[in-house]
């Protein structure tokens, strides 16, 4: 009997990720590593290996944090930096994605801008600081500009690549079903298809932007970076560390929220 007429088309793929005792063990190991790191950090100045001025022990941080919370300095710096961050990120990402999508769909626009891109792209974002100061002064505008430049190229190139990689066959589907204008194609095919790549660029920008915020503020624009510079000039190194950790926490929070949003948008991905 060679009757192999057994349809076995819809087998659900087993996609159970390795969860169980090992993942618990990994968490425990990670926490242990962190504890050892903090202990060594605490011990180094504690045993006189290094001056607490050069390396403030972790136990000095909560007090420093509390003092800056009470004086209001922390809130002020945090909100100032956050506004530079969000404004610069919105401007740089918006322009980067917008022009990148344009260059991705229009070979003419891509060709027309190719040499401009080649000249401007290699310029490090921080090399724009002199012009930021000349054009906008040591102000929110200047900091926003530095952040925007810092994330523009990442988003531009991510968007160009994502749009150019969109499956031609799917664009043909739009044509076959009457969606022939570039607007309809963008809305129905190109942007959704390019979304994973564009969102990848945006996420990389989230990290880059914090770097640019701190750099811009080190030149004197009020915010976390400026507060760090003030504290270090007074050798209040525990305050410097408090703000370093503040930036890490803000970045972590932004990235976490962004990933939630991205996963909601891309819930169609297998």
């Amino acid at each position: 009997m060679t009757d192999a007429a057994l349809p076995s088309l819809s087998q659900t793929p087993s996609r159970s990720r390795a969860k169980g005792p090992w993942s618990l063990g990994k968490t425990a190991l990670g926490l242990a590593g962190l504890a050892i790191f903090l202990l060594l950090w605490e011990a180094a100045p504690g045993f006189g290996l290094i001056s607490p001025l050069l390396l403030p022990p972790p136990s000095s941080l909560p007090g420093a944090f509390w003092r800056d919370l009470q004086s209001g300095a922390w809130h002020e710096a945090m909100f100032a930096s956050l506004s530079h961050y969000l404004l610069g990120l919105a401007l740089g990402s918006g322009l980067g994605v917008g022009l990148g999508v344009w260059a991705g769909v229009s070979p003419q626009f891509e060709a027309a801008t190719s040499y401009i891109v080649r000249i401007l792209r290699p310029i490090p974002g921080l090399a724009w600081v002199p012009f930021a100061i000349i054009w906008f002064g040591v102000s929110t505008g200047g900091a926003t500009f530095i952040v925007a430049v810092g994330v523009f190229w990442i988003n531009f190139f991510a968007a160009v690549a994502a749009v150019q990689a969109v499956d031609r066959d799917l664009i043909e589907v739009a044509d076959a079903f009457g969606h022939r204008s570039i607007r309809a194609k963008l809305a129905k095919i190109i942007l959704p298809a390019a979304a994973p790549g564009i969102l990848g660029g945006l996420r990389t920008g989230l990290g880059q932007a914090w770097m640019a915020v701190v750099a811009a503020e080190l030149f004197g624009v009020p915010g976390l970076g400026q507060r760090m510079m003030q504290a270090s000039s007074l050798l209040a190194t525990e305050i410097v560390v408090v703000y370093m950790l503040t930036i890490a926490a803000l970045y972590g929070l932004c990235d976490y929220l962004f990933v939630l949003w991205r996963d909601a948008l891309l819930k169609w991905k297998p």
Binding site: S10, L170, D175, G178, P192, A195, W268
Partner: protein
């Protein structure tokens, strides 16, 4: 004959390559009547798919003209296309995939939804409306692609080797589904395939394309009523003729 749905009149189209120009069609004529189910067979590369792409407006002929006598009722599209691969949009759920062609026709959201649901029911997938394409089997996805085409209530249904990528059992099942839907809707169908038995099992008429530029080397009506016996179709005289013509 005013009953023609498709009239191709001295159609010409060439493929322009790097070093030479390959004529695909030259002064090619074809007439398809309203309600006819025509299978186009031929070797790969002969221009079968190109013919569908011209009719669907995805490729422009370089010479000649074609007339499509199709109704342009409000809320419909005159032509719909089913590709060899389903080409569903992975970011849309099944129902929204079926709605794609209905968007931009000035229908209300409820009408769109209703039409898409009816089309899904017609291919027997009403219960899959809320799923993502990747959750369906290849055969189911191809049925969704058929539903997407049927949803716009086209006068002319163009099918480009729609079952070629499926396993034999699913293919037979979908062939019978197509015959059932065709009997229920009476659409004009142009069906490209390289499977002679499939053409003879489904169509009212078989056109064999061969040569470069392509010519209709054979054009026969099949009057046998449905359902046809698959083995009788495969061993018929017409099948022998077609196989012989394909080998020339």
């Amino acid at each position: 004959m005013s009953n023609a749905a498709i009239t191709l009149d001295r159609l010409g189209l060439s493929f322009v390559g790097a070093d030479r120009v390959t004529p695909i069609f030259e002064a090619f004529d074809l007439r398809v009547s309203r309600g006819e189910f025509v299978a186009i067979v031929g070797r790969s590369g002969v221009g079968k798919s190109t013919l569908l792409r011209i009719l669907a407006g995805l490729a422009k002929p370089s010479a000649g003209r074609f007339d499509l006598a199709l109704s342009d009722k409000k809320g419909t599209r005159p032509i719909a296309l089913v590709f060899q691969d389903s080409r569903l949009l992975p970011w849309r759920r099944i129902l929204a995939n079926v709605e794609l062609g209905l968007e931009g026709l000035g229908l209300s959201k409820q009408d769109r939804r209703k039409r898409a649901e009816d089309a899904l029911a017609l291919v027997g997938l009403a219960d899959q409306a809320g799923k993502w394409p990747h959750q369906l089997s290849g055969g189911q996805r191809q049925r969704v692609a058929l539903a997407r085409a049927l949803a716009v209530d086209p006068d002319l249904l163009l099918m480009d080797e729609p079952f070629a990528a499926l396993d034999a059992i699913t293919r037979r099942f979908l062939q019978d589904e197509l015959l059932r839907i065709r009997a229920a809707t009476g659409k004009t169908i142009l069906f490209v395939t390289h499977d002679v038995d499939e053409a003879l099992y489904l169509a009212d008429r078989v056109v064999l394309l061969a040569g470069s530029p392509a010519r209709a080397r054979l054009d026969r009506r099949i009057d046998a009523a449905h359902p046809r016996a698959r083995d009788a179709v495969a061993s018929s005289d017409l099948a022998q003729d077609i196989h012989r013509a394909l080998e020339v």
